[in-house]
Amino acid sequence: MTGQKPLERLDARIAVGLGGGYLALLLSGVHSLGYTRDEGFYAYAARVLELWFELVREQGFAAFSRVNVDHFFGVNHEHPVLMKFLFALSHRSFHERWPIFESGTALRLPGMLMAALAVGVIYCWGRETAGRAAGVVSALLFAFMPRVFFHAHLACFDVAVTSMWLVTSYAYVHAFLRPRVASVLGAGVLYGLFLDTKHNAWIFPFALLAHLACVRIFERWRRLPRSGTRVPWALLGVVGIGPCVLFLCWPWLWFDTGARLLEWFHFHLAHDYYNMEFLGRTYWKPPMPRLYAPVMTLATVPLVTLVLFALGAFEIARAIRREADAERWVHESAWLVGLGASYAPWLSTDTPIFGGTKHWLTAYPFLCLVAGRGFALVRSHVAELLPEKWRDPRLVTSGLAATLLAGPFAMTLHSHPWGLTFYTPLVGGAPGAASLGLNRTFWGYTTGALVDTIDALAPEHATIYIHDTAAQSFELLKEDGRLRSDLSGTLALPLSKLALYHHEPHMRRVEYETWVLYGTVAPVAMGSYDGVPVVWLYERP
């Protein structure tokens, strides 16, 4: 029968502890991380929504008229509104009303909470399927993926959609196995919120169909009784209720629904191609390299995590052949399908790669859950190898976990606040990646590393050329007091006194423009990570 163990009260406490601890860790370092381009755009959209909150308070239902919806929800309408709504709510509550956090941190808080939620849910799912230690290890392997840690700080959608995919999958599997009204409704509502987070959710129903096929094929092969009901109510709940919830929660869709949905689909299915460096070549148009996703995963996820994943996958494959546990397969096939579906778009050479590893962050919780299985396998074998007197299960488990997690933990802490510059030892760290021609940075967030120098060098009321930093992100730095309030950001190099340059090969011409206009090739300050230059500053002589 099944090896799944229901959660206990202690597990809830552990999940909250892991999630809470992760949130505290994220908050402790958030001030040193500059603002990415997209955060600037989403922060602006959130500010507009804050104005809409005022309108709701003042005018009630009139705030929901087409004119107002178009005006307040039209900003950044290529992305659904859930996270922007939460950014606005958090900013209004924890910065405006109760000034607990600086402006940017209040905007980022919902994203960090979503990351903490993912950590807690990974623990719960890992605990149910592979035991408490495996659950903890899975959760921490996820928390201590350096790229996840970077994105977990941001007021963006990537970790949020990662969390929503995980949470919805978790709820779905339970609703699939025990389809009660509440569980089916819950899975459907969660999918609606998942859709309202980011368009990665479009893939989810196809993943569930693949999951259903995996489960039924396994049951037939092993001649097992059917899991769940003949009618897959959970799946019907997801595809039936989810879109309704999306519609209800995203007022932009209330008017011209068909046209706006088509516009949403078209924006992402025919997205612009931005530049991305990979193995010494800048890609800006198809065909994109098929090796991009696997190589970048190998280059940025700690090797110990990948090896545990490989062992976990081996263990799952072995269980498929040897064990007749349908319920276990329902869980684990959801992991494998989630993993595969998250990477699937990058099998096409037409899929853009400009966002680097963030594109497939949704795969990582599942990768870590499988790695938790790998940990359980290693633990059982290590215990067998030890002399009898050292086989204290707690000692073996904690010693092994500490040994395996030390690397990811240290690398993750060391990566901050240079998350996009971090690479694992497999490619020689950041210097090795630079030599291989892997992207060093994008999104202009590393301005945060030079704020003190800018403050010190800039004359009063100076204009700073901000290069790849969005104007709204520059303003957030000023609002937080990290930059002097008298300074102005500009994209007009001739008007500037100081000029930033965020390195990407295709942007080098911007640096050459600075050489010609400023009459110098020598930066006055350098932001570097492990000896690799990332962002630098020029001063007009």
Binding site: T282, W284, K285, P302, L303, V304, V307, T403, L404, L405, A406, G407, P408, A410, M411, H414, T424, P425, G428, G429, A430, P431, G432, A434, S435, R440, L491, A492, L493, P494, H503, P505, H506, M507, R508, R509, V510, Y512, E513, T514, W515, V516, L517, T520, V521, A522, P523, V524, A525, M526, S528, D530, G531, V532, P533, W536
Partner: protein, 295 residues
């Protein structure tokens, strides 16, 4: 395995010199640096650290954004992590010195191209006269060193310098020295000479010491024109009215070399006339070039 990965992480994270170590190397580098001998950094990604640490004296723009290495008799290499400056792998190492975590090498070109005259050094009113011919009318493009410098950012024009031979219009029709990005996004210092629609931009250099050949490179910002299939730009060369040849530049070819024999004029000092043009229907043509008279 976890601990091994941690150990490797620490090793990789600490093995590259930090900016303070680069700054401490400044004295040694400047002591070795010779005028006209470009400083190169290996691996290439470390070069910005060197520029910050050693300053403009170590990296004159004409050396940093040179047309290529062929005409450089020698290079001074600053190397870390055991890297080498790959474009000069065939150069001979004539000296090598280890300073901390750095290696300074003098690299000698086994067969340098000898240059008598670099046109880039003569974009001034004493040596050059610029005119624009359009619709049968020729107007002068006077020199100014007080033009409004501009730069278009990532998606706009390259930097337009303060000093230039400015033609009446449009703004990009001028002759002056700027820097463009080649097909590897590396810097190339060059003479901007964008042909106006339906016109010919003429550059007349005085007293060029002729040798065996004229060697040049044409290009435009690769980032801006890497997808372009616009009509090509033609650079016609002549000397005191005698045609030497012409070079036609396709946008997507990046920084591209050409040469013309001038053997019959070896030893003479002659004028060189350059005409830059594009087909009439091409409204937005950019062009930048470097040219040298070889021994």
């Amino acid at each position: 395995m976890g601990l091994a990965e941690l150990g490797l992480h620490v090793w990789f994270a600490t093995r590259t010199p930090r900016i303070d170590e680069w700054r401490a190397l400044e004295t040694a580098v400047l002591a070795h640096k010779r005028a006209g001998e470009p400083l190169v950094v290996a691996p290439a990604w470390a070069e910005p650290l060197a520029r910050e640490a050693f300053g403009d004296r170590a990296f004159p723009l004409d050396e940093l954004a040179r047309a290529d290495d062929a005409s450089m008799p020698s290079l001074l290499e600053v190397s870390v992590l055991g890297a080498r400056y790959e474009p000069a792998r065939n150069f001979r190492v004539v000296s090598e010195e280890h300073v901390g975590r750095f290696t300074l090498r003098r690299l000698q070109n086994p067969a340098p191209v000898r240059v008598r005259f670099r046109f880039l050094d003569h974009v001034n009113p004493s040596d050059l006269r610029v005119t624009l011919t359009r619709g049968g009318v020729t107007v002068p493009c006077p020199y100014t060193d007080h033009a409004l410098p501009t730069a278009g950012g990532l998606h706009g024009e390259v930097a337009f310098p303060r000093a230039r031979f400015a033609c009446p219009d449009p703004e990009r029709t001028f002759v002056g020295v700027t820097v463009i990005d080649d097909q590897t996004y590396a810097p190339r210092r060059c003479i901007w000479a964008a042909p106006p629609p339906g016109g010919v931009l003429s550059l007349a250099f005085r007293a060029v010491p002729f040798g065996s050949a004229l060697r040049g490179f044409g290009g435009l910002s690769y980032f801006l024109f890497r997808d372009s299939d616009a009509p090509p730009v033609t650079l016609a060369l002549a000397s005191d009215g005698a045609p030497l040849g012409s070079y036609t530049h396709e946008d997507a070819s990046g920084w591209h070399g050409f040469s013309f024999s001038t053997a019959p004029f070896t030893g003479q000092s002659r004028g060189v006339e350059l005409g830059v043009s594009a087909p009439d229907e091409a409204p937005d043509r950019h062009f930048c070039f470097a040219l040298e008279a070889l021994e």
